[in-house]
């Protein structure tokens, strides 16, 4: 079993982090680091792109790889440029649910449609946490949040299902409770040549937990009780939602350059 000491030394900087007590952000950081350590990829080849929000601060500045902390919702678009620019880079995107599926929804759709070889972790805490806990596209109907004090008049959608429908090569869902499975899924994402999308239900004790009367630990237990690896269960499904083989954009572009006769610039 990998030692935390070694992971910390090789992959982590700038600690203590600003994350709240019990926040799942650090757990995602831990799982990403362990996944890379157990993969063939070298950390020098990794670029972690993030948008704006607490989730965006997971890789930036805490992860000791090349990091690109961008504008709200646009991480996948920036990451597309990085990957097509240099296909040998392993590009990870870490983005909150508001960043990724709210303002960034369009880029999420087209990243999936293009099946571009990115590894996207959507850190889903069901809110816009950093700005105080406003309603997000993943917030349940009727839920009371900072901007839905009378209950959420909107309804949520399932980002993972949409990404699956848009054509992503690899779609999965886990929670921070499922650390071992999450690590394996990130490894699979790294190995997959296509758009990997892992929705990670992640606890935000400060903005979500507090109003539900739960701390971080209790939220982890809630994840355990309310998820299931059985598709037929009524509980939230965790596991692989989709694995398909479709043309991957970077490969297609490079093949065309090859055919057009250009040596790479």
């Amino acid at each position: 079993m990998i030692k935390a000491k070694d992971i910390k030394k090789k992959y982590i900087r700038k600690h203590p982090s600003p994350f709240c007590p019990g926040c799942g952000g650090g757990m995602v950081l831990n799982s990403m680091s362990r996944a890379v350590e157990e993969s063939e990829v070298s950390k020098e080849d990794i670029v972690a792109v993030s948008g704006i929000g607490c989730a965006a601060w997971i890789p930036s500045p805490h992860w000791r790889v090349d990091t690109l902390h961008t504008t709200h919702g646009r991480a996948i678009a920036f990451a597309t440029g990085v990957k097509i620019g240099n296909k040998d880079l392993e590009v990870m995107v870490v983005s909150g649910d508001g960043d990724c599926a709210g303002i960034g929804g369009n880029h999420l759709l087209h990243g999936a449609r293009n099946n571009i070889d990115l590894n996207v972790l959507m850190i889903n805490n069901g809110l816009y946490a950093m700005t105080g806990g406003q309603v997000a596209p993943t917030t349940e109907h009727d839920e009371k949040t900072l901007t839905t004090p009378y209950g959420n008049p909107s309804s949520s959608f399932e980002a993972a299902e949409i990404v699956k429908a848009a054509g992503a090569g690899h779609v999965a869902r886990w929670t921070t409770y499922h650390m071992k499975e999450l690590i394996e899924e990130v490894k699979k994402a790294i190995d997959t040549n296509g758009f990997s999308f892992i929705e990670v239900l992640t606890q935000c004790p400060t903005r979500k937990g507090k109003k539900e009367g739960m701390n971080g630990l209790e939220m982890l237990e809630w994840y355990k009780e309310n998820t299931s690896k059985d598709e037929d269960s009524d509980k939230i499904f965790v596991g692989t939602l989709s694995e398909v083989d479709r043309p991957e954009l970077t490969e297609q572009i490079y093949r065309q350059i090859d055919k057009a006769g250009g040596g790479l610039r």
Binding site: R13, K14, E44, D45, V47, V49, S60, P61, R64, V65, D66, T67, L68, H69, T70, T71, R74, A77, F78, A79, T80, G81, V82, I84, G85, N86, D88, L89, N106, H107, L109, H110, L249, I253, Y254, Q256, I257, K259, A260, G261, G262, G263, L264, R265
Partner: protein, 374 residues
């Protein structure tokens, strides 16, 4: 990529060819009139020289991806018009803040809003300077011919690389769609970004006089901390201290301000003894220059001044001219460059010839010159 020679070429194509000559390695864009030809041409030609081309889902994604690609070591460009340029402002500011070289072509059209897509206008000049939020300086060039579409695109790349900044090529539908003789030279000077040397470890701060830090690539093992938040020299985010904000933002502004003499560029004709100087830029400057020549032929002491670099502003020279002669600003816009010229020229000396939708004839401007000179 066209072989060296002389061509009868559309401005937008000349711009695309200029980018190929400059060494562009990545283009991402979105269709928009009157700029689409730049992208259409590059979709075919860029792969032939080993560059990556991709059409993105919108203009925001286009500028985002050229910034991402720039950090893989590639010279990158996108082209758009007013509506797309408006969408790009946030990420333009991001490129300024992260000191990412890239070229944004704005083939301006008649606005505001959807306006008249196929008609020229130059109402975006101030937006090029102030479009994104916060304090910053920008470099923007204004070509007025097919040749300049080619040459200024190359210069835009060079300035972007030299100063680690986004550079805007402010063209307009007139210049973009006009066909003229364009000479493509075999020898073209290109500049590449300065990569870290020896013991240089800071990529987001410097004590150098030119204020430009070195720039590594992704994959160099530098564990880069690139962020649009205010940051320290090593890229660490600092969203609270006075020192970090003061040092970073002042340096970013100084980077353009202190280097302006190397960046600025203009054309002058017969200004020294002029009673009236016509100031113009972009496609409007063509009939404007013609009108000035005609005025001289008719014995009027009229000069001509054309900024080739709109930003940083040629205010120093404009002020000298404005204090020595009357000025007639001729532009294809009501507010494009007007307030900048008003800043430099005493109001009693300033006259305006503004026109929308289409270029005037030489005679129309000449008539205005005569009226002002009276």
């Amino acid at each position: 990529m066209k072989e060296p020679g002389e061509y009868f070429m559309e401005g937008n194509i000349a711009c695309a060819e200029g980018s190929l000559r400059a060494g562009c390695g990545f283009y991402a864009g979105y269709p928009i009139t009157p700029a689409s030809e730049v992208m259409n041409h590059l979709s075919k030609e860029l792969p032939k020289v080993g560059g990556r081309f991709v059409q993105m889902e919108d203009e925001i994604a286009s500028i985002a991806s050229i910034i991402g690609a720039s950090w893989t070591g590639l010279k990158s460009m996108t082209a758009t018009s007013g509506p797309g340029f408006s969408l790009m402002q946030e990420n333009l500011g991001y490129a300024v803040m992260t000191e990412t070289p890239c070229v944004i072509v704005n083939v301006q059209r008649a606005g505001p809003s959807t306006g008249q897509a196929t008609k020229p206008g130059t109402g975006d000049v101030m937006q090029a300077r102030f479009g994104s939020q916060g304090d910053y300086e920008i470099i923007a060039l204004s070509p007025n011919s097919g040749q300049e579409m080619f040459d200024f695109t190359i210069r835009s790349f060079n300035l972007a690389e030299k100063y680690r900044t986004p550079v805007i090529l402010l063209a307009d539908a007139g210049v973009g769609h006009m066909r003229e003789r364009v000479k493509i030279r075999s020898e073209v000077e290109t500049i590449d970004r300065r990569r870290p040397e020896g013991d240089e470890t800071e990529y987001f701060d410097t004590d150098r006089k030119d204020h430009v830090p070195p720039m590594p690539d992704f994959g160099d093992g530098e564990e880069l901390l690139i962020t649009g938040s205010t940051h320290l020299g090593d890229g660490t985010r600092d969203t609270s201290s006075f020192e970090a904000q003061d040092r970073l933002v002042r340096r970013l502004v100084s980077k353009i301000e202190d280097n302006r003499e190397e960046i600025e560029d203009w054309e002058e004709m017969d200004v020294e003894d002029a009673d009236l100087t016509v100031v113009s830029y972009g496609s409007m400057s063509r009939p404007a220059r013609g009108a000035v020549k005609k005025a001289r032929e008719e014995g009027l002491d009229v000069g001509f001044f054309r900024p080739k670099v709109m930003w940083p502003s040629p205010e120093r020279r404009l002020r000298e001219i404005g204090n020595n002669s009357e000025v007639l600003l001729a532009e294809l816009s009501l507010r494009g460059y007007r307030m900048e010229v008003e800043r430099a020229v005493p109001s009693e000396n300033l006259h305006i010839y503004d026109r929308l939708n289409s270029l005037p004839t030489i005679d129309m401007i000449y008539d205005k010159i005569k009226e002002v000179v009276k």
